[in-house]
């Protein structure tokens, strides 16, 4: 029995040797194909384009399905996708799209106007099919396809968002057989985009194959893999080692550390995200009844404006974001330059103090001002525990507001608790933020009266609980304005109104930090073209532009071909092998000694 146990030990040692050696052969076999590997973290909720709502899910639908229109990599303007051109009727209610001829689905079937007509009609009639993108087809009259190349959409009111329909168009011949629009579609998907999803293993990888029939031309690579990394440090290592080629979501410390790696090219660009502090202006439900427990003193717009004046975005950018962010200005992030209102938010504590003195907020003996009812001004500041901006920023904000005589008590709690509290109006000050889209309609709608919840704090997605007639009127105007230049003017005006009402204070816009292997890939197309991003796009341009080659510039000097990784590997393997062999010899020697000892007994 003893011998058997020893034998088992020896077998496991042999297995270990076996594990380490043949793996080299395994890695070599995939080299025939040109594959771009990108690291991701977020879980995929579904591959069904009608129900997926996660960021990774919508990115995959963009890659697999061409939309009617897409966003220009240069400046996010709507440009032709499946529709090669479009026109509106004089009453702005009828949109006629001309569908591109000669484009094909990945199974070889031609793409016709019947496909978008089927998709859109399905979303208007089947609740399940409207799960993810139903908001786009609300207020539509009808969708028809009079012939193979013409798609006609009639809306009930004029809509400025008709060229920003983020709706995956699916093949009619595949989906008309589907009865349950909630179910997962079989793989591989049938699509029209540059890459088609082939295989998926939850929390392991998503594999896409290049669509050789793609109407813009076949991608220059054969496949695109997304590999899951739940730990960003491990992901950085995978990039340095070459397990992956491209990653985003770096934190400033990691980004700076990678600057010295000659094989890595760093990329940062204007983000899509706005970060803000909400100031509860007296939250009310959709029917106008007050809800929540916000401090009533904050109903005074002068007090809110003074708070906004006392918060220094420059310091937050430098200290909290390590410089990788843009200083606060308008509500729409600067990545969307056309709509962004560029006037920097002022930081002036002296002015804030003066405003508060004039408005009658008298400082007490402890330096804290009293509100109009004589109570000291004490505000809660709600933030997301574990989030860098909230944890660090709350300390700065507390001290800035102390300078103007307001006592702040930061409360860092779980994300979901912040959501519950802000949705129900149970806050004074709270950290919040949104990722904006090329079309600003959605983030603008968050500040309208209509986005306030019902009496039990549900049924809508409120943000700052602003309900302002001037803002709402402008919102309706921009939604109906189909002249882009005029609409941009209205949107800029709305941002001025928001700044003036001070129910939210913009803190800044953090830049996504990305990195890729400069020794393997030529530069990627970014969106927007100058100072843009590769992975976090509103489109497929970054992945579609992937070209095997090299990126060389001042930051990434040309170095010897990437033999370094292999050398390390060989050394490691040899070292590991030596250890294992030694262990085996030792074990064998002991086995022999024991064997004789047993016999002797």
């Amino acid at each position: 029995m003893l011998v058997r146990r020893r034998l088992a030990g020896a077998v496991s040692v042999i297995a270990l040797v076996a594990v380490t050696v043949p793996w080299v052969a395994g890695a070599a076999q995939a080299q025939g194909e040109k594959v771009l590997r990108a690291g991701i973290t977020q879980d995929l909720d579904s591959l069904n384009p009608f129900i997926t709502i996660t960021r990774v899910g919508t990115d995959l639908t963009r890659l697999t399905y061409e939309y009617l229109t897409t966003y220009d990599p240069k400046d996010y303007r709507p440009v032709p996708g499946l529709a090669e051109k479009w026109e509106t009727s004089p009453d702005k209610l009828t949109w006629t799209f001309t569908i591109r001829s000669g484009a094909k689905w990945s199974d070889g079937q031609p793409i016709t106007a019947a496909d978008p007509a089927f998709t859109l009609n399905k979303m208007m009639t089947d609740k399940a099919a409207a799960t993810a993108n139903g908001n786009f087809v609300q207020g539509w009259e009808s969708v028809t396809a009079p012939d193979d190349r013409t798609l006609v959409i009639r809306t009930k009111q004029p809509r400025s968002t008709m060229l920003a329909l983020d709706i995956p168009i699916v093949p009619k011949h595949v989906w008309e057989k589907v009865t349950d629009f909630k179910a997962e579609p079989p793989l591989p998907l049938v699509g029209s985009g540059p890459f088609i999803v082939q295989d998926y293993k939850a929390s392991q990888f998503i594999k896409l194959k290049a669509n050789k029939d793609y109407w813009r031309g076949a991608p220059k690579i054969d496949a695109l893999d997304f590999v899951y990394y739940k730990n960003v440090d491990a992901e950085v290592q995978a990039l340095q080692k070459g397990d992956i080629d491209l990653m985003s979501r770096l934190v400033p410390a990691q980004y700076d550390a990678l600057k010295n790696d000659p094989n890595i090219k760093l990329n940062t660009g204007a983000g899509r995200r706005l970060n803000e502090i909400l100031i509860n202006p007296g939250a009310a439900s959709a029917d106008g009844n007050p809800i929540g427990n916000g401090n009533p003193a904050l109903k005074d717009v002068q007090l809110r404006k003074a708070i906004a004046l006392a918060i220094d975005s420059r310091t937050l950018v430098d200290k909290v974001w390590g410089g990788y962010a843009v200083e606060a200005a308008g509500y729409i992030p600067p990545g969307f330059a056309e709509f962004h209102w560029p006037e920097k938010r002022k930081f002036d504590p002296a002015e804030a103090n003066k405003m508060l003195d004039e408005a009658g907020y008298v400082r007490g003996a402890d330096g804290v001002r009293a509100d109009k009812t004589g109570k000291p001004l004490r505000l809660r500041l709600l933030g997301h525990a574990g989030t860098n901006l909230d944890e660090q920023g709350s300390k700065y904000i507390t001290s800035w507001l102390k300078d103007i005589g307001i006592a702040v008590e930061p409360q860092m709690v779980a994300d979901q608790k912040v959501n519950d509290a802000t949705t129900a109006g149970n806050f004074d000050l709270a950290f919040s933020g949104w990722s904006a889209n090329p079309d600003p309609d959605y983030v603008l709608s968050l500040q309208t009266c209509a986005s306030r919840p019902n009496a039990d704090g549900k049924g809508a997605t409120p943000d700052s609980f602003l309900c302002d007639p001037e803002y709402d009127a402008l919102y309706a105007q921009q939604l109906a304005e189909t002249d882009r230049a005029k609409r941009i003017e209205i949107v800029k005006k709305m941002q001025q109104v928001l700044a003036d009402r001070a129910s939210l204070v913009i803190l800044g816009y953090d830049n996504p930090l990305e990195a890729y292997r400069a020794d393997r890939w030529a530069p990627f197309t970014t969106q927007p073209s100058s100072g843009g991003v590769i992975m976090n796009q509103q489109g497929y341009w970054g992945y579609y532009s992937a070209t095997p080659g090299r990126t060389t510039d001042a930051d990434a000097p040309a170095e010897a071909q990437g033999g370094g990784g292999n050398t390390g590997l060989v050394i490691g393997l040899v070292g590991g092998g030596v250890v294992v062999v030694l262990a085996g010899v030792l074990a064998f020697a002991r086995l022999r000694r024991r064997g004789t000892a047993d016999e002797r007994e």
């Binding site: 395994g26 879980d43 392991q204 594999k207 893999d225 959501n419 997605t461």
Partner: protein, 341 residues
């Protein structure tokens, strides 16, 4: 003779003698009964526990998405969140009796199927680590106790304590930095893992090396220390003197006489820990992006995926309960003193 009353003597004679077997059955039944009760309580607890957690699942589901109030209400109705909590509880119980954990909304699939998919990787990782750690810990524990205060004892007991105190995720990150160049940086298989059985198994084994090593280092210490302590207790027993007096070699005294007695408390410990194997490695799974149950728990919590959370909770608890049961039964088999009492 009458069938009305049997003579007293006869009754006594016919009464069965106290049997060990009957005791064993009763013992087993009590233990199994207790186990079933625990699971039932957990089923109830799991349902209400996760509903006390903050956060509205529908809001979390649609975070950062342009959705209308009507869409939110539609989602809420679809997942049954608009029903009274007792109705939801009843539906949950009925589903559970049919072996249905409900539908996970974070993954758009039956929760049972998702848990099943993740159970394998976790068993593979934590199971391998548990077996290796137990073997290493017990062996080292026996050695160090036998040669107590020797150089091996002093060195390895210290080392064991150090590894036991280090948080596993930190150890994982450090190991990854040291050895990540040779071993994969994460996952259970390469995206282009070969499909043939043996090469695929090797690919998985290669991915296992670092996480298993981390887990072994993190847990072997407690086995070693418990084993060492329980062997030390036996060291001065008279039966060992007797064994030596018989002329047995020191090695044999240890292996044949001291170890079997010292193993008793350690066996219980090992099985209690095997129960935790299923849930055991959340942090290590996170460091190495291992697609197991620990990872799934974190993902489900983040999305507040109630059906998935409930399912995982039940599976984890059942694993612990079963292993406790096995430990109880095994202890009875191994130790005659437990049988006697």
């Amino acid at each position: 003779m009458t069938d009305f009353l049997a003579p007293v003597e006869e009754t006594i004679a016919e009464a069965p003698p106290p049997q060990r077997g009957g005791g064993a059955v009763r013992y087993l039944l009590t233990k199994v009964g207790g186990a079933i009760m625990s699971v039932l309580m957990v089923v109830v607890l799991g349902f209400f526990l996760f509903r006390v957690m903050p956060g509205d699942p529908v809001t979390i589901m649609t975070r950062g998405r342009p959705v209308s109030g009507a869409q939110l209400d539609q989602l809420r109705a679809e997942h049954g969140f608009d029903q009274p909590i007792l109705v939801q509880f009843w539906n949950y119980l009925v589903g559970l009796l049919h072996g249905d954990f409900g539908n996970s909304y974070a993954f758009n699939a039956p929760a049972g199927a998702i848990i099943g998919e993740r159970l394998g990787p976790t068993l593979l990782l934590s199971g391998t680590a548990a077996v290796l750690a137990a073997a290493l810990g017990l062996w080292l524990g026996a050695k160090t106790a036998w040669y107590r205060n020797g150089p091996l004892d002093r060195a390895s007991t210290g080392v064991a304590l150090v590894f036991w105190s280090i948080p596993p995720w930190w150890l994982g990150v450090v190991l990854l930095m040291i050895a990540g160049g040779v071993f994969p940086t994460g996952g259970m298989q390469s995206p282009d893992s070969p499909t043939a059985l043996v090469p695929h198994a090797l690919d998985v084994a290669h991915h296992m090396v670092l996480p298993v090593f981390t887990l072994v280092l993190a847990i072997y210490g407690q086995y070693q220390l418990v084993m060492r302590a329980s062997l030390l207790e036996e060291m001065n027993s008279d039966y060992l003197t007797t064994a030596r007096a018989k002329g047995l070699r020191d090695d044999m005294v240890r292996r044949r006489h001291a170890l079997p007695n010292a193993l008793l408390p350690t066996t219980t410990l090992v099985f209690l820990h095997l129960g935790m194997v299923v849930s055991g490695a959340i942090t290590v799974e996170a460091v190495y992006s291992w697609p197991g149950l620990g990872q799934l728990t974190a993902e489900a919590l983040e999305a507040k995926d109630l059906p998935l959370l409930q399912g995982i909770f039940i599976v984890l608890v059942i694993a612990v309960v079963i292993m406790n049961l096995v430990a109880d039964v095994l202890l009875r088999v191994l130790d005659p003193r437990v049988r006697a009492s």
